[in-house]
C-alpha cells in the first residue's frame, strides 16, 4: 500500500501530491481499536488500591472551596469553538472522501480560519492568564510514569503521586494535538493561497511543486491524525469515570470531593479565592505539613 500518492510534474519531476486516502481508514480503525483495547483493559484490570492521601494541612483543606474552579469561561468558550471548528474541518475534509459529495472547500477554509483565530486566542490566554506550564509534562510526571510502569510490571517502586491539574496522559494528548494542529493550520493557511478566498490573491506558484506536495502530505497526515485523536478524545469524554471532567468543561468547576479524590493539592493548588475567579492557577506550592 502506498502511503503517499505521487505524480509526475510537467517538468518530469516525481512529486508527492497528497497522502493515500486509504490512510483515513487506518486512522479511524486505529482510533477505534485503541478505545476497544482500553475499555477491555479498564474492565479487566484489578481495582487499584487507594493510595494514601497526601498529608494536607487542615488549614489548606479549610480553604478548598465546595466548587473547585477548573476551566475559566474563556477556556471553555475556546474549547467549544475549537471543537466545532475541528468537527467542521473533519467533516468537510473527509465526507467527500467517503462518497458524500458537496461543495466543501469554502466551509473548510472558513472553519480553518475559525480554528486559527481560536488557537491564537488560546496561546495568548494560556500564556498570560492561565498557568502556561500546567499543561506541559514535568519531571514529576516522568517520575510518576516510571513508577507506574515499574509497578505494573511487578517491580517495586514508590507509589506514584496523585496528579496535578492535568494528568500526564492529558498533557501528552495536548502536546500531540498541538503539533498536529500547528501542522494542519500552518499548511492550511498556505494552501489558502491556492483557492479563491477574499483574503489573498490566488498564487499557486508561491512554492515549487515539491514543497507544495509535501505541504499537502503534511496537511493530510495531520488531518487523518485528528480522526484518531478526536475519536479517542470523545471516548474519554464519555467514559463514566471521566464524566466529571467533561462536566467541568461545561460548568467550569469540579466538586471539592472530586478534587481531593483525584488531585494532589500540592501540585494543583486552589483556594477559596479561586472559586470567585474565572482564572485558575495551578502554581505548585508546597503545603505539606
Amino acid at each position: 500500500m502506498n502511503l503517499i500518492e505521487w505524480a509526475q510534474s510537467p517538468w518530469g519531476q516525481q512529486i508527492p501530491i497528497h497522502i493515500a486516502w486509504s490512510l483515513l481508514w487506518v486512522s479511524a480503525i486505529g482510533g477505534l481499536l485503541f478505545l476497544i483495547v482500553h475499555a477491555i483493559y479498564v474492565k479487566a484490570k484489578p481495582a487499584a488500591a487507594h493510595s494514601d492521601a497526601p498529608a494536607v494541612t487542615p488549614a489548606v483543606l479549610a480553604h478548598v472551596p465546595e466548587r473547585v474552579p477548573r476551566h475559566s469561561l474563556g477556556a471553555r468558550l475556546f474549547h467549544l469553538i475549537m471543537a466545532i471548528a475541528m468537527l467542521a474541518l473533519l467533516l468537510t475534509a473527509f465526507l467527500p472522501k467517503v462518497g458524500v459529495k458537496f461543495a466543501w472547500v469554502t466551509y473548510h477554509w472558513i472553519a480553518g480560519i475559525v480554528l486559527t483565530i481560536s488557537i491564537v486566542y488560546h496561546i495568548f490566554h494560556a500564556s498570560f492568564w492561565l498557568d502556561f506550564w500546567s499543561i506541559w509534562p514535568d519531571r514529576e510526571d516522568v517520575e510518576d510514569a516510571s513508577r507506574r510502569i515499574k509497578r505494573a510490571m511487578g517491580q517495586s517502586a514508590p507509589e506514584p503521586r496523585k496528579f496535578g491539574k492535568y494528568p500526564l496522559e492529558n498533557k501528552l494528548y495536548h502536546l500531540v494535538v498541538m503539533l498536529a494542529g500547528l501542522a494542519a493550520v500552518g499548511t492550511g493557511l498556505f494552501m489558502m493561497k491556492r483557492v479563491q478566498t477574499p483574503f489573498f490573491t490566488r498564487n499557486p506558484y508561491l512554492f515549487g511543486d515539491m514543497t507544495w506536495g509535501w505541504m499537502y502530505v503534511l496537511h493530510g497526515l495531520a488531518g487523518i491524525g485528528f480522526v484518531a485523536l478526536v475519536t479517542v478524545h470523545i471516548y474519554f469524554a464519555i467514559r463514566p469515570e471521566k464524566l466529571f471532567l467533561t462536566k467541568s468543561m461545561i460548568l467550569g468547576w469540579i466538586t471539592r470531593e472530586q478534587y481531593l479524590d483525584h488531585y494532589d493539592p500540592n501540585r494543583w493548588h486552589v483556594s477559596e479565592r479561586d472559586s470567585d475567579s474565572e482564572t485558575v492557577q495551578s502554581k505548585p506550592k508546597k503545603v505539606l505539613a
Binding site: E5, A7, Q8, S9, P10, I15, I17, H18, P96, K101, F102, A103, W104, V105, R194, V195, Q196, R202, N203, P204, Y205, D209, W212, G213, Y216
Partner: protein
Amino acid sequence: MAVIHDVIPAFELFQPTTVDDALALQARYGAKAWVLAGGLDSFDWFKDRIKRPEVVIDLSQVKELRGIRPVSDGIEIGAMTTLTEVVRHPMVREKYSILPNAAEAAASPQIRNQGTIGGNVTQDARCWYYRGGWPCYRAGGNICYADTPTGLNREHAILDADRCVAVNPSDTAPALIALDAKMVIRTPKGERVVNAEDYFIGPAIDITRMTILQPGDLLTTIRIPSTWAGSQFYFEKVRDRSVWDFALVNVAAAVVTSGSAIDRIRLVVNGVAAHPVRLTAVEAAVQGKPRNAETAELAGQLAVRGAIPLQHNGYKVPLMRNLVKRAIRGSAGQEAA
C-alpha cells in the same frame, strides 16, 4: 500538446449486447472498466496514454440503447443514438428543433455519424493541461495549471470555478436542459431518473467528474417531455472555427410567449463553467416582460453577474452577455461589446 504514440495500450474488450450484461461487466470490473460509446472522447485518452483502462466495455452492440421513440409524454432517445440520427429525426426536428440544431453544431459530419448523444453529454473536460496528463486537480492532484499567472486559459471558465477552471464542452447539454430533459441512469441499485440540469456537476461537488455518473452507472436514455414541444427555440454556438470546434460559449433557450410577453422560459449557457449553467435568475427576471431589446438588455446584464474572468478569457463576459441578449430577443444581430 499531447505526445502521439504509435499504438493504444492493450486492454480487454467486451461487447455486451444488453444493458444488463453491460452493467454486470461494470460491476465485475469496477473502476478498472471504461465504458465506450462513440469513442470520440475515449480514443483521445487511450492514444495519448493518459487513461489506461484494463477493460473496455463497448456499448455499440447494445441495440436497446439506440433509437428515438415517441412515448406518451414526449420522446425517448437512447444514449447510443448518434448525433446524426438526432439531427435527422423528423419528430425531433418538428417538435424539439433546438436539439438537432445543437447536435448539428457539434464537431464535424464524420464525428456526428459516430458520436452519440450520451457520449456528447458525458464527455470529459477539454482543458489541455488535464488532457496532457498533468497532475491537476481534475486528475487527482492539487493544482490548476490553467488558473496560474502564466496559464493559457482563453477557453476556460468565468463562472462557478472552484480550483479547477475547465468548462463543459457539450453542445447538446444546454439544449437538453432547456427542454427539461430527464436522464435515465441504470445503477447497481436500480434505475434512477434525474433532471438534465442535475446530471452535470461542478468541481465544488466533485473535482474529478463532470457528471453524477459513478463507476458502475450507465446513462441509458434521455427522456424529453412534451412540456416545451413546439416552443420558440434559440440555439447559438460561438467558436473559433465554424467548421469544427468546441464552443467558446453557447446558449440555448426555450420560450413560450403569450402575446408579446414571455410566459415561460428556460435559458442555459455552456462553455462558461464546468457544468451547463441554467440562468434561473434571468428566467425569473424576464418572465412576463415583452420579448424585446429592452428585456434582452436586462437579461444580458443580469446573466453575467458574478462572472470572474481569468487572465485571457475576459472576452467571454461580453460574449455570454450578448448571446443571452440574442436568445431573449430571438435573433442574432449586431451587439455592442
